[in-house]
């Protein structure tokens, strides 16, 4: 754990730190900016990943009636709206006293959530990362996209698309619509799964399991073919945090909070999600809007952690579905008894979770409770509630307080990308140290940094994507602020050195 991700003191800058800015990072949700601080010997001293978080969204929620919120928060993210929908619903279950919700509501929500996780993971692996992984990080830029994958590996692309489609159909069957669903409400859900939809999904689920197994094999083979790269690329040791079921099983919908240290030793276990503030604190740094969460018991310097598939698979004691558990054991064997901290191992872990999700979906589709039974529960009203869920990218926390007039008076959201903030900074620093020579910004360096960031699948800012908005701007600036080099990648992929335009650098 390094305590060095601090704002560079002007005095330190004057002693020889240089700054490299990459803005924005492509193929991640929204825009990010990377600043690499160099010393006078061109060694990477620090990395700062600047993320445009959903500034203002919490204020946007405050003052709204609580029952609107599970629908509104879906607009936080165009990729995982269902995770926000369910985390908010779980928080407001507490407010309306629905603890627990009915068995039917619990199972329909789980079905919705596991559909969401599988479709998000499938998008990430087959669409966002497969081009890098299948063609190599330095391959021709116009091949490194899903279209290139579809042309070179049509079978892989087809499976990815149809896995996504299946996940979307699960969401439609449970949430009412593919997008902007309203299925989950404070206290339960508002509809059962229809017999027709269940039959449609049951028809395809065995095929999906087979394809998910193929996807795990692809990820496994990528590691086996180039273990030196996959084990070392962006590798950083960190604590790990996730929900687990009370018996230690992997559970993506509900559970208690568990954290392990980098050696795999349990730091805390069995903590109620309602008391997350007793475990986690968020540090503010002046150079970014995004906070840095850490485990209070270890402090800011040692307590940062990673979340998401890599953490979840190693934090739990077992996966409660046979095919995925068998794959998890093979995955753990790769670490030879030590926790796996390789950044690219996120992809392997992600595909094992896809397999698990479909196994769970299959089991839930056979459960009669999704077709009938009480949908809503009510109980003594409370003024506040916390909803925690394992979203595709990791632990997602929604915390609300509600007044007697039913209006939300406080909203606090901690998303997976925030939990992973320092881990991503560390991973990029590791990559930059390996691939930046300090004299020239190369397209290869940018590609490698983007690969490291993409492994975490960060959701940087959600769903603004208007046409023509995605340039990539990299500047190399000397200790006195002088521009040494600058490269611009236009939206059509043209990579140009451009020393003639003004550069806006982070402060």
């Amino acid at each position: 754990m390094t305590p060095s991700l601090e704002t560079a003191d002007p005095a330190v800058v004057s002693q020889g730190l240089r700054r490299v800015a990459i803005d924005p990072v492509s193929r991640v949700e929204g825009h990010g900016k990377v600043t690499i601080l160099l010393d006078a010997q061109n060694r990477v001293q620090q990395v700062r990943l600047h993320i445009v978080e959903f500034r203002g969204f919490e204020k946007f929620i405050e003052g709204r009636p609580y029952w609107e919120v599970p629908v509104m928060v879906q607009r936080l993210c165009g990729i995982c709206p269902v995770s926000h929908h369910l985390a908010a619903s779980k928080a407001f279950d507490r407010v309306v006293g629905a603890v627990p919700v009915t068995p039917s509501a619990d199972k329909i929500r789980r079905l919705m959530h596991y559909g969401q996780v599988m479709q998000s993971h499938a998008l990430h692996f087959f669409y966002l990362s497969a081009p890098d992984l299948l063609f190599g990080f330095d391959s021709e830029v116009n091949r490194r996209n899903i279209v290139g994958v579809a042309q070179a590996h049509p079978d892989i692309a087809r499976k990815g698309i149809l896995l996504r489609k299946f996940g979307q159909e699960v969401i439609r069957a449970t949430a009412g619509k593919r997008v902007h669903g309203t299925g989950s409400v404070p206290g339960g859900v508002n509809k059962h799964v229809s017999l027709e939809d269940r039959a449609l999904l049951q028809r395809d689920v065995a095929q999906m399991i087979a394809w998910a197994q193929d996807a795990v094999d692809i990820a496994k083979q990528l590691h086996a073919q180039n273990p030196a790269l996959y084990d070392s690329f962006g590798s950083v040791r960190s604590n790990m945090l996730s929900l687990v079921r009370a018996d230690g099983a992997l559970d993506l919908y509900d559970g208690v909070i568990r954290a392990r240290d980098a050696a795999g030793k349990i730091i805390c276990d069995g903590a109620s999600d309602q008391s997350y503030l007793d475990l986690i604190e968020e540090e503010v740094k002046p150079w970014t809007y995004m906070k840095f969460p850490f485990l209070k018991s270890l402090g800011a310097d040692l307590g940062w952690y990673r979340v998401g598939p890599l953490a979840r698979l190693q934090n739990c004691d077992f996966i409660p579905s046979p095919l995925a558990e068998a794959q998890r054991r093979l995955f753990l064997d790769w670490g030879k008894g030590e926790p796996i901290h390789a950044t690219l191992a996120y992809h392997w872990a992600r595909m094992i979770e896809v397999l698990h999700c479909i196994e769970v979906i299959k089991e839930l589709l056979d459960d009669p409770d999704i077709l009938s039974g009480e949908l809503m529960a009510l109980g003594p009203r409370q003024r506040a509630g916390v909803g925690v869920i394992e979203a595709p990218r990791g632990t997602l926390i929604h915390h609300y307080e509600v007044g007697d007039d039913d209006l939300v008076t406080m909203c606090n959201l901690i998303v997976a990308t925030t939990h992973n903030n320092q881990a991503m900074n560390e991973a990029v620093r590791s990559v930059a140290r390996q691939y930046l020579d300090g004299r020239e910004l190369t397209e290869g360096l940018l590609n490698h940094i983007e690969v490291a960031i993409r492994a975490y699948d960060p959701c940087l800012s959600c769903a603004t994507h208007a046409l023509g908005q995605m340039p990539l701007d990299v500047a190399l600036v000397g200790p006195e602020g002088e521009l040494i080099d600058r490269v611009v990648k236009s939206h059509d992929g043209v990579f140009l050195h451009d020393l003639g335009s003004p550069v806006g650098l982070p402060t």
Binding site: S26, R27, E29, G30, F54, R55, G56, F57, K59, F60, M72, R75, C77, G78, I79, P81, L123, F126, Y127, L128, V141, N142, N145, I146, V147, G148, A150, Q151, P154, A157, R158, G160, I161, L162, R164, K165, F166, Q168, R178, V179, H180, L200, R203, D204, M208, C462, A463, T464, H465, A466, L467, G468, Q469, M470, P471, L472, K489, H491, D492, G493
Partner: protein, 162 residues
């Protein structure tokens, strides 16, 4: 699985954007207005989403004509209409993809040409979270809707797209 629908409307209008991000809402708002025209479901299907995604290539299957609708920062006001062709998209992408790349995915996935697709890009200015669409953008939307209604009224050829 669901790659081959049993029957689909010959026309598809697909708008995308985030209703909570100012003028990014133009795509879904356009869909909302067009739905209010209550044209027969057997003739046209309306879809909206936050972004174009790979699986949307399957929504093109069986169509005779497709209209994509999105907000744009770079088009001329009030709107621009562009016939699209499938291309291997060399642009940097976020999680969202371009309609041209979506058409290319369709082509690679199915080994046939996608249906004729047109992009209706509506000029937007402000995409801030929590902001309503700007007055200017709503004016652009009104003009674009007139064009979209004419597109919908164009007779559909009797021969189904292969």
């Amino acid at each position: 699985m669901t790659a081959q629908p049993a029957s689909v409307a010959p026309l598809l209008v697909f708008g995308w954007g985030n209703l909570s991000r100012g003028d990014d809402a133009l795509g879904p708002l356009c869909i909302e207005h067009l739905r209010d025209l209550r044209m027969p479901a057997a003739r046209v299907e309306y879809l909206d989403d936050y972004q174009l995604q790979i699986e949307h290539a399957l929504d093109l299957v069986g169509r005779q004509r497709v209209l994509f609708v999105d907000a744009s920062l770079s088009c001329r006001a009030p709107f621009e209409v562009t016939p699209l062709r499938a291309v291997q998209d060399a642009s940097f992408t976020t999680h969202a993809m371009s309609p041209q790349a979506l058409m290319q995915v369709f082509r690679d996935l199915r080994g046939e040409e996608p249906p004729p697709c047109t992009l209706l890009a509506i000029r937007g200015e402000c995409f801030e979270l929590g902001e309503p669409p700007s007055v200017g953008a709503l004016d652009h939307l009104a003009a674009a809707l007139q064009w979209a209604e004419a597109w919908l009224a164009t007779p559909v050829p009797q021969v189904a797209h292969a």
